[in-house]
Amino acid sequence: MDFIITALLDALSLTTFLSVALGVLIGIVIGAIPGLNAPMAIAVAIPLTFTMAPLAAIGMLVGVMKGGGFGGAIGAILLNTPGEPHSAATTLDGHPLAKSGKPRKALQTALYSSVVGDSCSDLVLILLAPTLAIFALQAGPVELAAILIISLTLIASLSGKSLAKGIFAAAFGALLATVGVDPETASPRFTFGFVELFDGLPLAAVAIGVLAVPEIIMRLQEGRHYRRRDVEAVATEARQDRLTLSEFLALKMPIFRGAGIGTAIGALPGLGTTLAAFLSYAATKRFSKQPEKLGTGATEGIAATESANSAVSGANLIPLLTLGIPGNLTAALLVGAFLIHGVTPGPLIFQRDAQLIYGLFAAMIMANVMVLVIGSFGLRVFALIVKVPPYVVYPIVLLLCVVGIYVSQGGFFAVWLMLGFAVLGYLMVRLEISVVCFIIGLVLGPMIELSIRQSVVLLSRNPAAIFDHVFALVLVVATPFVAWILVRDRARLSDG
């Protein structure tokens, strides 16, 4: 018990407090800037921590991670320019709501859902990390393949008006995801001799290219018809532009569902935030009393995605701390930082570095409170962006996207790719092909490919071993039923 109290005192020291606060601030600001994102914020912050005390350093990076999670929602909601694939889920309802004159309400929903989701998953981490890590390890390639297949079936319900176009977009995304070195034979596929493509298309460049840049182009096209009156209309509505307590309480289901989905997916290494965000959104759509409202600016949609993707970040630390397995890019950067500060992830971390780990837990809770406080002030400032004429905001946003990709992906190659994919994204929007489905295909494609190919190799000499994987079998058997229910729902919706 002693060390827990010492750890709490460490965490409550002024240095730790200030470094966590600084981390949260860096995270929110960098995350909010279009073209930049949370992993980049961490990469920027790591060298800053080299000379700091371990707890202050790690607390600051965790602050950056949490701040970046909420910051990402700001660009997505206000400008429809997500910086990471998972933020694309937040744009679905966040941007329509902001556009209808309620930017603050949209940001408040995102902030509160994000903090609740994050706190829930931190609690699970603190109470159950070692147990959960052992449980999560049971999930091998076969289980991951089954989880991915059933998830993709659920997410298919987000394909928009035309199911065929949605499937086409997802398949196209999955096809582009095959670019890079083949995981099994190590021979390059579709790389056309570019070494830069050996590790696959740089995801941030493609995501910002298809999601954010076409939006910028379209806003600028509209810019010619921009009138002063629109802003004034927004201003008069500002009084109703806030989330009331009763409205927030009504969101408890999507928030807790999102937190649950996010925590589960975060604890399983190798699945990631994008899956959690879209899965939570799809589930909320399925169970919503007004599913037709989703996609038009429903707070439910924002709450579902933001609680889920924030929950991933806390739960991601479970495999990271106890097994040294990072669940996503942000976590991978954190492993490096932990190493620099002498924290070696491993099953005995709670004994070896107990004081530091409990200090980290305290710092995480502190960071959640700070995201809430700094975020509440910040969103008032950020919400003013909608009052600035688009012909001022969007050229700046475009410049930031170019600079952000140049810096984070290391050069002009990624910038040209981003611009190329912007053309593709623009065409897709004009042809009403779901860009979101394309991104889901692109992100989940390689995971599904790898886990299925791993499963095949693992079972190749002993196919009967498939019966040891009961959980996976149940999911595989359930998949057609889930598909059937979703098709039925769809028919019912289009009738009604």
Partner: protein, 312 residues
């Protein structure tokens, strides 16, 4: 102090009227790191860059061009001016092994080597619940069953395990994984019998979370003499991995020599030695440019033989 020094240096640079015999380095040097920011390789490079700044009295700008195990950075650096103001950081296999795969356009002869700064250690790990405790037990189990599930990370470890499989008459089911994390997950969860791993398996081994049955680097694991190397076990193969600084072909000899001696001094710094030994868990070794080129050429011959042996 540092800021003051930088300001003074900047002021001095402005007041000097372009001396005809400007001594290298008279402007910032760009260090292109072939790995993404935040990892163990990147951190080592950044620590060395900081040390070199104070030795050379010039700023080093670290730029990350990760991808394809250092090949992306190599392709970039070899096309830069060989004036010593753009140098690269990659690993020995980037030059000794990757060109043999036929997927890249460069060879070790297309760059100039500056120095080797530290070595990497790699091992074969098994789940803690495995029925065997050592290499011999693993081979016996696999022979008994006829096959072995193995998690691979890079083409080199795949070639080595194929070679061993051929020699022992075991069919190796090679499970591809992406990066070290996937392989570690597979071995910790007991989904495979054997996995390739970097030195981050050592703390896990000390915690009892997995078994380490052999070391792939020829030097072995100094603090755990019970772990045999592949040559101890009677195989004439190994994976030599080391951090390598390089520059474009035909680099300015004066610049190359200065960088070489700066690195020789930088590796002696306390911060770097602590990182390599206690955090990165690699090993200390310094080789100058000529020795680096020679050992890479030697490795390349060995890998060529290895690839030829598994082709048959």
């Amino acid at each position: 102090m540092k800021i003051l020094r930088t300001i003074l240096a900047a002021a001095a640079a402005f007041t000097m009227v372009a001396p005809a015999y400007a001594e290298y380095p008279d402007k910032p040097i760009t260090l292109v790191v072939g790995f993404r920011a935040g990892g163990g390789s990147d951190t080592a490079a950044r620590i060395l860059a900081t040390e070199m700044e104070s030795i050379l009295g010039q700023k080093l700008i670290v730029e990350n061009k990760g991808g394809a195990g250092g090949a992306v950075a190599t392709e970039y650096v070899r096309r830069q001016k060989p004036d010593g103001y753009t140098i690269g950081f990659a690993v020995a296999t980037t030059f000794a092994f990757t060109p043999l795969t036929g997927n890249v356009a460069y060879t070790a002869d297309d760059v100039d080597f500056v120095a080797t700064t530290h070595g990497y250690r790699t091992v074969f790990a098994s789940p803690k619940d495995a029925t065997f405790d050592d290499w011999a037990g693993m081979i016996a189990t696999a022979k008994d069953r006829g096959w072995l599930n193995y998690a691979s990370i890079i083409p080199l470890d795949r070639a080595i395990i194929k070679y061993i499989g051929n020699k022992e008459g075991i069919e190796v089911n090679i499970v591809p994984t992406r990066g070290g994390a996937g392989a570690r997950q597979a071995v910790l969860g007991g989904h495979v019998d054997l996995a390739f791993s970097g030195s981050n398996a050592l703390p896990m081994y000390e915690d009892g979370a997995l078994k380490v049955v052999a070391a792939l680097n020829p030097e072995g694991i100094a603090e755990h003499t019970s772990i045999p190397t592949l040559s101890n076990l009677g195989y004439d193969v190994a994976a030599s991995e080391a951090a390598v600084f390089f520059g474009p072909k035909d680099m300015d000899p004066e610049a190359r020599a200065k960088l070489e001696s700066a690195l020789e001094e930088a590796v002696k710094s306390e911060a770097f030695r602590d990182f390599v030994n206690n955090k990165f868990r690699g090993f200390e070794t310094f080789q100058d440019g000529a020795a680096t080129a020679a050992s890479i050429a030697e490795d390349a011959v060995a890998y060529q033989e290895l690839l030829a042996a598994i082709k048959e």
